[in-house]
Symmetry: C2
Subunit: 293 residues, 2 copies
């Protein structure tokens, strides 16, 4: 995190997908004295980047990415935000180096698990001489810490649900499928696939109102980093919308992995969670305790 030393060498680029994270990272980078260049991904980045030097490129357009890096003196790159679409074959514009590796590289980009794809992108960027750094290295305040964040703590029943959901999320992560899982009264009711956390919580709300999940047991959401994932990309994150969706799904709270998850708009999250009677909790990795024992 010795940014000052790095700054002498070159400029920071932030590759921006969808969601709030890219803005938070960009703001944090400025506060740390950086002058970030934003590479917004077409059809993914969903905010205006007025006020920042920026360019828009298609997902999979490595040729454009390298041109931008070269012409702006970029030496470090942060990947932030969600990338929901995978590029279609015709959209991948390889550089010479990626061409050498065809077709396995391209096949991975089109159809690998999220984690596989992100590792591949990191490799492609680093092979061209830039260093990929994690969003949490630029904005360390976003990292979740161990223990309750707001006024509420998980109850004994919630703790059982946390352990059960963590077990399921861990298995899910090992399969490179997703990061989130919901347990209600000891029963796993939903696992997160491509749809993402918000859609999964919507599903839980619907199952609840259809009477297919107990109305008397609240339950919890757990989000974990995939065991094998590169933490420089795609750390689990929660924000205001997570709290609102938890409320609508009737859940008691959310537990995220401490040190490997991001909490966006922390103050607003705490306020919303306290008002809704929802706990937000950081879990210590180490399956034996999860910081709960």
């Amino acid at each position: 995190m010795a940014l000052a030393g790095d700054m002498a060498k070159g400029r920071l680029a932030i590759i921006a997908g969808s969601g709030l994270l890219p803005s938070h990272v960009a703001t944090a980078a400025r506060q740390a004295g950086e002058n970030p260049f934003i590479v917004a991904l077409k059809d993914e980045a969903d905010r205006s980047w007025e006020g920042f030097d920026h360019a828009v490129i298609g997902v999979g357009d490595f040729a454009a990415l390298n041109r931008i890096f070269a012409s702006n003196g970029i030496d470090r790159v942060v990947m932030s935000g969600a990338v929901r679409r995978r590029p279609e074959w015709r959209e991948v514009r390889p550089t010479l180096k990626t061409l050498v590796k065809l077709p396995s590289t391209i096949r991975t980009l089109l159809a690998g698990g999220d984690d596989t794809v992100l590792r591949m992108v990191i490799t492609l960027i680093e092979e061209n001489g830039r260093r990929v750094v994690g969003a949490h290295e630029i904005a360390p305040d976003l990292l979740a810490s161990v223990g309750p964040l707001g006024a509420l703590q998980p109850s004994a029943d919630d703790t059982k649900d946390i352990i059960r959901a963590a077990e399921a999320a861990d298995a899910l992560g090992r399969l490179d499928v997703g990061q989130g899982s919901v347990s209600v009264g000891g029963r796993i009711v939903a696992l997160e696939g491509v749809e993402g956390t918000d859609s999964m919580l919507e599903r839980v709300a619907n199952l609840r109102s259809a009477g297919r999940i107990s109305a008397r047991r609240r339950g919890v959401l757990v989000k974990l980093c995939k065991p094998q994932q590169d933490i420089r990309a795609d750390l689990p994150s929660i924000g205001i919308s997570t709290i609102e969706n938890l409320r609508q799904a009737g859940l008691a709270g959310v537990a995220v992995e401490a040190g490997r998850s991001l909490i966006l708009e922390r103050d607003a999250v705490i306020k919303a969670a306290d008002e809704a009677g929802i706990f937000v909790c950081g879990l210590d990795r180490g399956l034996r305790s999860w910081g709960l024992a």
Copy 2:
């Protein structure tokens, strides 16, 4: 499956949840010379049982279930169809024997994984002197066999998806979460939770039309029996609606576990699958080959 011998002893009861399976089992039972008594579960069973001796009871009403068994000379019980709702606490009417085990029994019924709950129900029935038999013992023609069912076979790409989805479904089953998984181009895009296969396929269709799943790779659904489950309850099953949902989700086909999955309306399923260009395939258990090597 020596039904003739059993028949001398007593009558067969079919506990009927939702879906088509209970009808198929009841018809098959009659064809085998049985005179089944149908116990339709309130708010679950979704067809008329005119033409069969039947009664309707609430899910969790063990007292009523035992009265019905006793007054109709029931000695064997088949559990068939889906039970989507879990009983709420006030709906569980225990018998004396279940009362002895409170509160752990009740807690399991209210909130255990599906498999845990079904084992518990089987134990409760068998403790009262009846034998629980599998739907496939009454209607063995419903069981899936190894290999393609209709005109189409999985391609090489489909086979890779089958292996990937089978791996995920196996992990899902070990967690007692669900039986189904969808892989598209080697990437797991959805796992089945409480929502069931039809809802999961609807989700895949939506993700596909939103461009979040490749439009150029078809993908497959795999349904497996949970490794630890009692095969007398809740075998994975597919029917006409599965084929229609596969088509809408743009999937190439479905693979189910041979010998431990049920195919309802087999002729109609084959016809619909052939017309839609969809394969239906039985997999040999034994993760090494899945009958594909």
